[in-house]
């Protein structure tokens, strides 16, 4: 291959990628792939057990109302994935005000979420699509 050809192949790969970065066909397909509200609720419960065991982040959650937190996070992920739920908790920026959530803590929670999804048999594809929507919340959560 010539240099020019190699570069053009690389550029077309990158262009292809940009073209592919659009949402899937059905608006609630992610919700379905996460196992609907019941599947999400189960995964969130697993996530909460993992948070308690994780010294990097457990202290940030020590005063929460466990039942309320479980309902709110489940509704939030349900709504975010295109499901028929409405998050009724406080705005994310308000919830995290004064918590000074660090990158380390955000990463730790992301890790526990991925592991909880894996343990609940959620596919790599669904994991990635949920993460794509969740990372949008990063600025509303960290360093506040």
């Amino acid at each position: 291959m010539t240099t020019l050809l190699r570069v053009s192949v690389l550029i077309s790969v990158m262009a292809l990628v940009a073209g592919c970065a659009t949402p899937g066909p059905s608006e609630d397909s992610l919700y379905q792939d996460l196992g609907k509200r019941a599947g999400i609720a189960e995964m969130v419960e697993d996530l909460m057990y993992r948070i308690v065991e994780d010294d990097r982040i457990a202290f940030q959650f020590k005063d929460i109302d466990v039942v309320q937190f479980h309902t709110n996070l489940t509704d939030q992920l349900c709504e975010l994935s295109g499901g028929p739920c409405t998050y009724t908790g406080r705005p994310m920026t308000d919830v995290h005000d004064g918590m000074n959530v660090t990158e380390t803590q955000f990463n730790a929670l992301a890790e526990q979420l991925v592991l909880a999804m894996e343990d609940n048999g959620i596919s790599t594809s669904a994991q990635n699509r949920l993460l794509e929507r969740l990372v949008e919340l990063h600025p509303q959560i960290t360093h506040r």
């Binding site: 190699r6 990628v17 990463n107 991925v114 594809s125 990635n128």
Partner: protein, 290 residues
């Protein structure tokens, strides 16, 4: 085959050491799997040939971390061995050191030398952004100061200096669910350099003696969170009149079973080197993180 036994032993020792030490070691850091990339042949975090904006290891903003790496590329007439180590402070600054040794498998007898060798001292600072969480990705600025350990051959073929410093700006971004719902990592690096064959043939030359800006790109697709497949392309200057210098490229697969260890295999094409044509072959790299 003497080199296989020479370099095989430390590789095995490192694997054994990592495996045995694994249960006793604390987790290397909190950044997500494979977000430290692997280690380039120049010791900086990146792919195999191209430095990325990612910083070595898994340290996040409240943590320290680092990596140790052994790499080897066997192309038609040369064998490149690299030992490297890097430290990461708070995912803000990476400091690295690497020693490259290029065995002159077929040229050795003619030239009366067995190898070319250089040390590379690197520093890379994350300027802003996060590869996963920022819309505009992560951007880093780096330096690689390279010092020849034996300048006789490079000098004889027209190289100007026995040391040089590359400066580079890198941008890296992960696109979630980008291709078949798999995550895609895209990297672009612009490097200012006077190096001949990365510095192994010295710096500057009779044909060109000034800094040139070179574009280096990589893409990597996460098949899942422990397997990444991709390709890299690295433009290179052509400073020496005695033989043309080609661009480098590779296609790689990296396996990151957990944060402590990664294994990278690549098919690499280094083009013509010192007049010997089409230097292609396998690259293997083993990295441990702490």
């Amino acid at each position: 085959m003497t080199h296989c036994s020479n370099h095989g032993a430390p590789v095995l020792a490192l694997v054994a050491g990592l495996t045995l030490a694994t249960p006793a070691l604390a987790d290397p850091g909190s950044r997500l799997w494979a977000t430290g990339g692997v280690t380039t042949i120049e010791g900086s975090a990146g792919g195999g040939l191209v430095p990325w904006a990612l910083l070595a290891g898994y340290a996040s903003d409240q943590e320290w971390g680092g990596t140790v790496t052994l790499s080897r590329a066997e192309v038609d007439d040369f064998t490149l061995n690299v030992t490297g180590a890097a430290l990461n402070w708070h995912n803000r600054v990476e400091v690295s050191i690497a020693r490259q040794t290029l065995d002159l498998d077929t040229l050795g007898a003619t030239l009366g030398e067995d190898e070319l060798s250089q040390d590379i001292f690197g520093i890379k600072a994350r300027l802003f952004g996060d590869v996963l969480y920022s819309d505009y990705g992560q951007w880093s600025l780096g330096l690689q100061h390279k010092r020849q350990r034996d300048f006789d051959i490079p000098e004889a073929i027209g190289a100007d200096d026995d040391q040089g410093t590359d400066v580079y700006l890198s941008g890296s971004k992960l696109f979630f669910a980008a291709v078949a719902d798999r995550n895609l990592l895209v990297n672009a690096t612009v490097r200012g350099t006077r190096a001949n064959q990365g510095g192994l043939l010295g710096f500057g030359g009779d044909r060109n003696d000034s800094y040139k800006a070179m574009l280096e790109t990589s893409v990597g697709l996460f098949l899942n969170r422990s397997w990444i497949a991709g390709a890299e392309y690295r433009h290179k200057p052509d400073n020496l009149g005695f033989a043309t210098e080609d661009d480098w490229w590779d296609a790689f697969v990296a396996w990151v079973p957990d944060r402590r260890v990664s294994v990278t295999a690549a098919w690499t094409d280094l083009g013509d080197i010192a007049g010997l044509e089409d230097q292609r072959g396998l690259y293997l790299s083993l990295q441990g993180s702490f």
